[in-house]
């Protein structure tokens, strides 16, 4: 079984994360569509920290003998998912950014044209 102290610290950590995320959404510093993965992470952490039986089952299922390690592994997995998600967001943004620059440059050339000719 997971030591009580670890459960309490993990639950507190997850709760702080959740509150922080909700506050960021409330103050419009974080858009809902990018917050979803974060919320999912926070909720999963909180649930597994409090529901100690489930964590033990999960750890046993994948062959991890020390349940808190399962929590750690799952958390790392969520972080990876988040990072990958952001890489796709950045790729999309940079493609859109390039298109914008191209449109701008073509339009600028058009505007300057009468003076030049």
């Amino acid at each position: 079984m997971t030591p009580w102290r670890i459960s309490i610290v993990a639950a507190l950590g997850a709760a702080v994360l959740l509150v922080l995320i909700l506050e960021l959404i409330r103050s419009r510093r974080l858009q809902e569509r990018y917050a979803l993965l974060w919320l999912l992470t926070g909720v999963a952490m909180l649930v597994l920290a409090l529901w100690r039986g489930a964590l033990a089952k999960l750890a046993d299922l994948v062959g991890i003998s020390y349940p808190p390690s399962a929590l750690f592994v799952l958390f790392s997995f969520f972080i990876l998912a988040l990072l990958l998600h952001y890489s796709t967001v950045i790729s999309k943004l940079s493609a859109q950014n390039a298109t914008l620059a191209q449109r701008l440059a073509l339009l600028e050339e058009r505007i300057r044209r009468p003076e030049a000719g």
Partner: protein, 257 residues
């Protein structure tokens, strides 16, 4: 298909009726080429006065744009550096918007000889190809260059030949021309960094006909080559990955009208 390669002497005349009505433009991407750009523009104009010269200034911090417009070229100035692919695509978008029949890429650093223009476009004028690549290898003047560079060029030529099932000898050459079909494709979809190899495959996957014509390459008039060892390695890996992905991608990405 490899037959196209062995036609080093074919040239069309500017007075040829197939060339006379041809609306053609040169896309000249330039980044920090202040010192040579006017010479390049002059050479292009000398080779073919009917070519509309459009310099794409890729966010140069120096006077490249000013010098180019002073030399009489049209200048499209990108607000910041997009890399050669992004700049080139801007040129194709211009060609599409202004309804050009043919676009030729000529580097702003002077390594391509505009005198080869009327040789390069022969397969397009004769309607045998949609994309023509000026190759350094099939010509009478064999291209030298560093050993590693030749290896890289050979490697990509081999891989691309396998993928597109047509023999090509120099897929890294940036001296190339396209007709309307090519302009339409590249305006819509063009790889962003190190675009030459990938765009060749892209064209083939969209069923564009590709031909090669031997041309001379010069060492750059001035400026610095952007090739370092670290970049070469990054280039090889990045482009190899892109090529590998093309095997699993659906084409065509845009409909043919």
């Amino acid at each position: 298909m490899g037959i196209d390669i062995r036609e080093p002497l074919a040239v069309v005349e500017p007075s040829d009726p197939r060339v006379l009505g041809l609306r053609r433009m040169a896309i000249v991407p330039a980044y920090k080429e202040e010192s040579v750009i006017s010479q390049v523009i002059e050479e292009i104009r000398h080779a073919d006065p009917e070519l509309e010269i459009v310099v794409i200034d890729d966010g140069s911090p120096d006077g490249t744009a000013l010098t180019a417009s002073g030399a009489g070229a049209r200048v499209i100035r990108l607000p910041y550096n997009l890399g050669i692919g992004g700049a080139m695509q801007t040129g194709y978008q211009y060609a599409l918007e202004h309804n050009f029949d043919l676009a030729v890429q000529i580097d702003g650093d002077g390594q391509h000889d505009p005198q080869d223009f009327f040789r390069l476009i022969v397969p397009i004028v004769e309607r045998r190809a949609d994309l023509v690549i000026g190759t350094r290898f099939a010509g009478e003047k064999f291209y030298r260059g560093t050993f590693t560079r030749r290896i890289g060029i050979r490697y990509f030529a081999r891989v691309v030949s396998l993928i597109i099932r047509q023999r090509v000898t120099d897929t890294t050459s940036g001296f190339r021309a396209v007709n309307r079909r090519g302009i339409r494709l590249f305006a819509a979809d063009y790889p962003h960094d190190y675009p030459e190899v990938e765009s060749t495959v892209l064209a083939a996957k969209h069923h564009l006909t590709i031909a090669e014509v031997p041309v001379a390459m010069r060492t750059r008039i001035a400026g610095h080559s952007s090739i370092t060892i670290a970049r070469s390695i990054y280039y090889m890996i990045k482009v190899s990955l892109a090529l590998f992905i093309t095997l699993f991608r659906r084409y065509p990405t845009l409909e043919d009208q």
